[in-house]
């Protein structure tokens, strides 16, 4: 049995693979099967909308060309495109998206990540990350202004002197004050990260969000 073709094929090849798939894959799937997976439209919230409108005010011409009016529908579209670019440009290979309950991470980044945070279309496949050259981004939204992000994407060393992060001038039409559609989408996506957390402190300073509460 242990050296026969059928034994190798069925027990080792298919059997053990399925056993592991059952234990490591199907068990969590069953545990989480009743969770509702939110769509991009459903994850748009007032905080990311505040940032989206801020982008529209700050870069009126660029924004008008890229997304027209800052509606919730346009915001969902920006989130989708931003997430596609975040993955395609390989951002997730240097920035994780989960705060671990150890190593003082909650003191540096914010609340420890919970399972329900990942139940949405924009975490498909989930972006836990593999390496942190730069900091975790799952609580990045609202920490810095859009102007900071624009300059940072254009040339990170301008605002973060020693940063080894590459430049992304193709997110702009020539200068950091002219983000193109790709640039606005990525910034919207970054500002969305963590915006779903009620207890997240930085948003309290945003007058617009406060006003709506």
């Amino acid at each position: 049995m242990f050296e026969s073709k059928s034994g190798i094929f069925f027990i080792a090849g298919i059997g053990f693979f399925l056993l592991a798939f059952l234990g490591n894959g199907v068990v969590p799937m069953i545990m989480y099967k009743d969770r509702h997976e939110q769509t991009a439209e459903e994850v748009v919230n007032k905080r990311v909308m505040a940032q989206f409108r801020d982008l529209a005010q700050r870069y009126p011409e660029s924004f008008q060309n890229a997304f027209g009016e800052p509606t919730e529908e346009a915001c969902a579209e920006a989130l989708r495109l931003g997430r596609q670019l975040y993955v395609g440009e390989g951002c997730w290979h240097c920035h994780s998206q989960f705060v671990r309950p150890v190593s003082n991470e909650s003191r540096r980044f914010g609340p420890v990540s919970k399972s329900e945070e990942y139940d949405n279309e924009l975490q498909r496949p989930v972006l836990f990350g593999t390496r942190r050259v730069g900091p975790d981004l799952s609580r990045e939204g609202g920490r810095r202004g859009n102007d900071w992000h624009a300059v940072h994407f254009h040339k990170p060393q301008v605002v973060s002197t020693d940063s080894p992060m590459p430049e992304y001038p193709w997110f702009f039409d020539g200068s950091p004050d002219k983000p193109n559609r790709r640039g606005i989408a990525v910034m919207t996506y970054i500002q969305w990260l963590g915006s779903w957390l009620e207890e997240y402190p930085y948003y309290e300073e945003l007058a617009e969000v406060k006003g709506e509460q």
Binding site: A76, S103, S163
Partner: protein, 503 residues
């Protein structure tokens, strides 16, 4: 069971006494092996250049700053994908065309199918590369966003967000067809072979099944079927299985084939071979979640993954002991026989890798080293230190046979070994140490810059270690070029040192 040694002896090069054995030329299509190797070395060159680009970016020496199509973020994915699918897969497929027919005494199912697979596989690797490099540039199309909105799927033209599963979605089906054809093409001769199977064939057969299933699982489920934390669990399983159920079994299967041939003695213990294979088959796939410890994946599943990882370390020890038992009495070969030196160096590195696994998989270690360069060092140790060194050894052994002449320069072969093994070992130590530093920088709550600035000495060292490894590859390529064009051997590698049987 004594099938191991006897099966090996039977199929070992058709020496005197093997009157009934089919002739080598009737079994093996040597041309396709050369083509696979050339493709493999091409992608290895590209991959190492990509790695160099990323390494230079980290130390602020990137000469192509702000060039969209040379963005380090995109080329970082070329680096890993070209190794997995361009170098390792091509080199393994080429070697299997040598090993499987000679072990089974049967040709592959169809030579034309072999060439078709060869073509398809290069298309897959090249389109993956094109997709990764150009995808984000052309991502912003109304029809893509419309599809993404309609189906609520990511629809990335370029890379998908799963490590080693970056292969763009529009290539995945072709890759699956290719893998299925590979399995059929090689399983038919294995199926036709008579008598008990030799160890290598257990590994090969299982690998064909596993690779297909693993690829299908990782490239379909987290993208289309499951989301969130469960997708994370599948993603962990995928990266893990791709190493453990595709690269590892093919690598060990080839070691069980080439080592006894070159040492001209059977594997030390057939019993240990059995323990090694079945232990790996059982424990290896159970460990996927250990890539995501401390995530929201349920804790009891994380504990299970940790325990099976420690268990597999014991299995690995039996395999390594078995091979060193085989070397006993032939220790001189390690110094004189270059392929054997490659193989056993790789095995020492393999033992270090797996020993490291058993430690780093614990929650205690994970606190410190997760997300750091420690993991990057570990990945290089296993992918380059083990499997690439093994394939270099196999190529060093096979090229003179495929080309019909000895290596042009023995010393270039030696340089290739020392630069590759030495450079890799320095890189491994350097990144491991860097990881520990980074872990402490982070948990000490110093500003983030402290960790990137503190990493600079390590990252600079890494650039030079990588350059050494690349220089080794250049030695190999020059040597191969001169050998292939028939330049007269300056200091030919003695037949013995190239692993050639004395006869």
């Amino acid at each position: 069971m004594t099938s191991g040694p006897s099966a090996h002896h039977r199929s070992d090069g058709f020496q005197a006494g093997d009157a009934g054995a089919p002739a080598h030329d009737d079994l093996v299509d040597e041309k396709i092996i050369v083509c696979y190797y050339v493709a493999a070395l091409t992608f290895l060159t590209i991959s190492m250049l990509a790695g160099l680009l990323v390494a230079l970016q980290l130390v602020h020496w990137n000469p192509f700053r702000g060039t969209e199509l040379l963005s380090p973020g995109r080329w970082r994915m070329i680096h890993t994908n070209a190794i997995a699918y361009g170098f390792l897969a091509n080199a393994f497929l080429g070697t299997l065309h040598w090993a499987v027919p000679r072990l089974t005494f049967h040709k592959v199912l169809s030579t034309r199918l072999s060439w078709f697979i060869f073509g398809v596989w290069q298309v897959i690797v090249l389109s993956t590369a094109v997709g990764i490099v150009l995808g984000p540039t052309f991502q912003d199309q109304p029809w893509i966003l419309a599809l993404a909105k309609k189906w609520h799927l990511p629809m990335n033209l370029g890379a998908q967000g799963l490590e080693w599963g970056e292969t763009p979605f529009w290539i995945d089906p072709l890759a699956l067809v290719g893998l299925a054809l590979v399995a059929v093409n090689f399983m038919v001769p294995i199926g036709k072979s008579k008598g008990p199977m030799y160890v290598s064939l257990w590994y090969f057969m299982a690998a064909f099944v596993w690779t297909f299933l693993t690829y299908a699982m990782g490239n379909l489920l987290p993208e289309y079927a499951v989301a969130g934390t469960s997708a994370g669990a599948i993603g962990g399983l995928f990266i893990h299985d791709l190493v453990g159920l595709f690269v590892t079994p093919l690598g060990w299967g080839l070691m069980y084939y080439f080592v006894p041939i070159m040492l001209k003695k059977p594997i030390w213990s057939h019993g240990l071979s059995l323990v090694g294979f079945w232990g790996l088959a059982f424990f290896y796939p159970l460990q996927g979640i250990h890539h995501f410890l401390y995530t929201p994946i349920p804790m009891f599943l994380q504990y299970g993954a940790v325990i099976s990882t420690i268990a597999v370390e014991l299995v690995v020890a039996t395999v390594v002991i078995n091979f060193f038992g085989t070397l006993v009495g032939r220790g001189k070969e390690f110094f004189e026989n270059l392929p054997i030196r490659y193989f056993y160096t790789g095995m020492v590195f393999y033992f270090i890798t797996c020993f490291q696994c058993a430690l780093q998989v614990t929650l205690t270690f994970q606190k410190l080293i997760h997300f750091t360069d420690w993991v990057v060092g570990h990945a290089h140790l296993v992918m380059f230190g083990v499997f690439s060194l093994w394939l270099f050894g196999i190529m060093t052994y096979l090229f003179p046979r495929l080309l019909g002449r000895p290596w042009w320069s023995r010393s270039l072969c030696e340089y290739h070994y020392w630069l590759s093994a030495g450079g890799l070992f320095v890189m491994f130590l350097d990144l491991t140490l860097a990881g520990i530093f980074q872990g402490y920088y982070w948990s000490s709550l110093q500003p983030w810059d402290a960790s990137t600035n503190g990493s600079q000495p390590f990252w600079i060292t890494r650039v030079f270690a990588g350059l050494a490894m690349f220089a080794g590859l250049l030695c190999f390529l020059v040597n191969l070029w001169m050998t292939a064009r028939g330049a007269e051997a300056t200091d030919p590698l003695p037949a013995r040192a190239a692993g050639t049987p004395a006869a």
